[in-house]
């Protein structure tokens, strides 16, 4: 069996016409990466700010006003004055506010008398993601207020010198955009491949292709190359935007990152091919591609939700997902400046899963032909 490039090229050319002709594929393959980079780049902010705070002030003294003022002058809170404690709670029910501050009367008197005074805070626990940051802001504000009102500023035993490494300003974009490679490449390689190859099976045109002199391998290569190119194109696009528009540092080795990209791309192309051979129906192939590729690449790859936070079972379960390993390579290469030595394990696993998926896909493909 000889591999003839011209045949593969002809099939690839046909596939490219297919993509160009179909507006949906075109939008998906070019529009979606652009859309995602822009949305994730401009919209995502994990640092919670402008938390709407209902305030009920029963004291109405200079001290209580200065307390409220400290809240509103911090960047974190937007004050919404209400008329009763019940109303404060009501605004939490109706999602108007996320937190409520209730100052009882006698606040200033107690403080001036040198006694400890309690201020009540109600937090909306239904939005878990804001509670933790609010709690941390509150400690800071508590200290500021005590200093401003009664000049309470005890000496600290320990001076903390915190250094946030790799992302000193805790910029959300630096965290999210390197992870986008994984999500975008999953869509372009896995989803599109699974779909288009399944379509050939469903239409019966795959049988037709197979009856031509073209070898199975040539058909596979011809079908996959255009999607590989699309995937690589999106990688280059995201890289350029991340560097030029969002100014994210790339501290690692470009060639290590490139190898990682290619391995990941091949793994997912092979997985898409395997899905399409196993299901042979676009409908089912799509669902499988979403369940085994798209959702895990967003939810189980460590993109937003850290793998360390998952139960132990998932620490091992996610190991079979190429997306998880490529995430380590992408973040490591961008932010940590990881070298080949640091990344040998993810690269090795990607290479292994690449080989396995390719092996199964071609084996299944051949076996199906012989029946």
């Amino acid at each position: 069996m000889i591999f003839i490039w011209d045949r593969a090229k002809a099939i690839a050319q046909k596939e490219i016409y297919h993509i160009l002709r179909d507006p949906f594929t075109l939008i998906l393959s070019i529009g979606l990466p652009i859309f995602m980079v822009l949305v994730f780049g401009f919209a995502i902010e994990f640092n919670v700010k402008n938390i709407r705070l209902a305030v009920f002030d029963a004291d109405k003294t200079q001290f209580s006003r200065r307390l409220i003022d400290t809240f509103s002058r911090s960047d974190y809170f937007v004050v919404d004055q209400v008329n009763s404690p019940e109303m404060a709670q009501q605004t939490l029910m109706s999602e108007r506010n996320r937190a409520a501050l209730i100052i009882s009367s006698g606040f200033q008197k107690e403080l001036l008398a040198g006694r400890t005074t309690a201020v009540q805070l109600l937090l909306d626990g239904s939005d878990n993601s804001t509670v933790a940051p609010i709690l941390s802001y509150l400690t800071t504000i508590q200290k500021m207020v005590a200093k401003r009102l009664v000049d309470f500023d005890p000496p600290q035993n320990v001076n903390f010198k915190t250094r946030f490494l790799f992302n000193a300003e805790l910029n959300s974009r630096w965290f999210v955009i390197p992870g986008l490679f994984v999500v975008i490449m999953t869509i372009l390689s896995l989803l599109l491949t699974a779909l288009t190859v399944a379509q050939e099976w469903e239409n019966g045109s795959m049988e037709l292709l197979l009856s031509t002199p073209a070898q199975p391998l040539e058909i596979i290569v011809g079908k996959l190359v255009p999607y590989a190119l699309l995937g690589l194109g999106s990688v280059i696009f995201v890289y350029i935007v991340s560097r030029l528009v969002f100014d994210i540092p790339f501290r690692g080795n470009l060639s290590v990152f490139g190898v990682g990209c290619i391995l990941f791309l091949i793994a997912y192309l092979a997985q898409g091919l395997l899905i399409s051979i196993l299901t042979r129906s676009q409908h089912v192939a799509m669902q499988f591609a979403i369940i085994t590729g798209l959702l895990p690449s967003q939810l189980l790859s460590g993109f937003i939700f850290p793998i360390e936070s998952m139960p132990t079972f998932f620490h091992y379960f996610t190991m079979i997902m190429p997306a998880r390993w490529f995430m380590v390579i992408a973040r490591g290469s961008y932010l940590k400046g990881s070298t080949f030595v640091d990344l040998w394990l993810p690269l090795l696993i990607l290479a292994i899963s690449c080989c396995l998926l390719l092996f199964f896909a071609t084996k299944k493909f051949k076996k199906d032909l012989e029946i």
Binding site: S129, T139, P154, V158, L165, K336, S338
Partner: protein, 372 residues
């Protein structure tokens, strides 16, 4: 009467088609429950299993206590599986990805330094994950302050302004309470949009849709006959998903089931309407699916499941208002966790119904133009 029996015929056909296919049965009934379970268990932004490394000196019992307390008390920190050799450069451990946090006291150890009165303690935190880094810093500061105070018998004066903090609706801060409604609405949306969209396009592709049109039924009946069954099929999934959420994760349902049902119905209607609209653009199943993904992807992103909507710029917030998922997710959280607030429910259910009507109207128009 005629219309009702016609619709019943449509429904029987669609339902049989859906359950005849074993793949479809799986996708419709088993896969949402499995996914709810998997994602519900797996995803959270809680801080857990952060690998902590402390540079220890032999006499430094304060820092040793800090290390023991933080690695034993809960599952925030785990000991870094690396050598305790103190000559090792912590920065290298961090950049090599072997540890996540390093605590470096001044030479001689923290205990001595506090005694001398100049205890500069370095916290080196891997901030690749920005969500985690801040929480880790706060937690470490608190535990170090309290342990060093206890060990060295330094009682810091009490802050005269005490904060009494009460967390409402989810006092134990269970992450699942927050995440599960998000996963639920994502799954419901995927099932209803994809199902409708694909089934209609399949008919179009196979030419059976043309046959329907040539049958003596009005365009309205065809549209209703093709959409109502999917609303019903998708609504069959709703109790399944809710039961799974309540039984598997113990999510409370504070509000009334009736309101929950109405809200789900409004949401499913709007999703089916969107699925129908996508199918009017698609020429074949492949396009239909791509169209489905093109909708689902941004819809999930703007739903508030992955990141809070409140911090987004105004333009992005407006996009989120156009997303049925964002309305349904806030409805679910409000009804399930808070018991539901009337005005809020009326507003968002109203928006969902308006969306459903709008999308059905547009797809009706588009169908009519293709038919004529």
């Amino acid at each position: 009467m005629m219309a009702v029996s016609l619709l019943r015929g449509f429904f029987r056909k669609e339902f049989m088609q859906a359950v005849r296919d074993s793949h479809m049965k799986f996708i419709l009934f088993l896969s949402p429950v499995i996914q709810l379970f998997l994602f519900g268990v797996a995803i959270s932004t809680d801080v857990k299993n952060v690998r902590l490394w402390v540079k220890t000196y032999s006499q430094d019992y304060v820092l040793q206590h800090v290390y023991d307390r933080s690695t034993n008390s809960n599952n925030w920190f785990v000991p870094a599986t690396t050598t305790k050799n103190r000559d090792i450069e912590p920065f290298e451990l961090l950049s090599g990805g072997k540890i996540d946090v390093a605590v470096v006291p001044p030479p001689g150890g923290l205990t001595q330094a506090i005694g001398r009165g100049n205890a500069d303690l370095q916290l080196l935190i891997d901030a690749t994950n920005v969500i985690q880094a801040q929480s880790v810093e706060l937690y470490l500061k608190n535990i170090i302050t309290s342990v060093s105070g206890q060990d060295l018998k330094i009682t810091p004066p009490e802050n005269p302004i005490a904060l009494t903090i009460r967390v409402l609706f989810n006092p134990t801060l269970q992450t699942t309470y927050f995440m599960i409604p998000g996963v639920m609405c994502m799954l419901m949306c995927v099932v209803s949009v994809i199902l409708t969209n694909i089934s209609i396009t399949r008919e179009k592709e196979r030419g059976t849709f043309e046959m329907l049109i040539s049958a003596p039924v009005s365009a309205t009946t065809v549209i209703l006959g093709k959409t109502v069954p999917y609303v019903i099929i998708a609504m069959c999934d709703v109790p399944l998903i809710f039961l799974a959420a309540v039984i598997l994760f113990g999510i409370p349902v504070q509000g009334s089931l009736l309101i929950l049902f109405v809200a789900s119905l409004a949401f499913v209607c709007s999703c089916v309407a969107i699925g129908t609209l996508i199918s009017t653009f698609a020429k074949n199943q492949q396009q239909a699916m791509l169209g489905g993904v093109l909708f689902l992807f941004p819809a999930v992103m703007f739903s508030g499941l992955m990141f809070p909507l409140e911090n987004m710029p105004l333009v992005m917030k407006w996009i989120a208002y156009l997303d049925p998922l964002s309305h349904f997710l806030s409805l679910l959280r409000n009804i399930m966790l808070k018991g539901g607030e009337n005005n809020f429910i009326v507003l968002h259910v109203g928006v969902l119904i308006l969306m459903a009507i709008f999308f059905v109207y547009v797809s009706f128009k588009r169908f009519k133009t293709t038919l004529e």
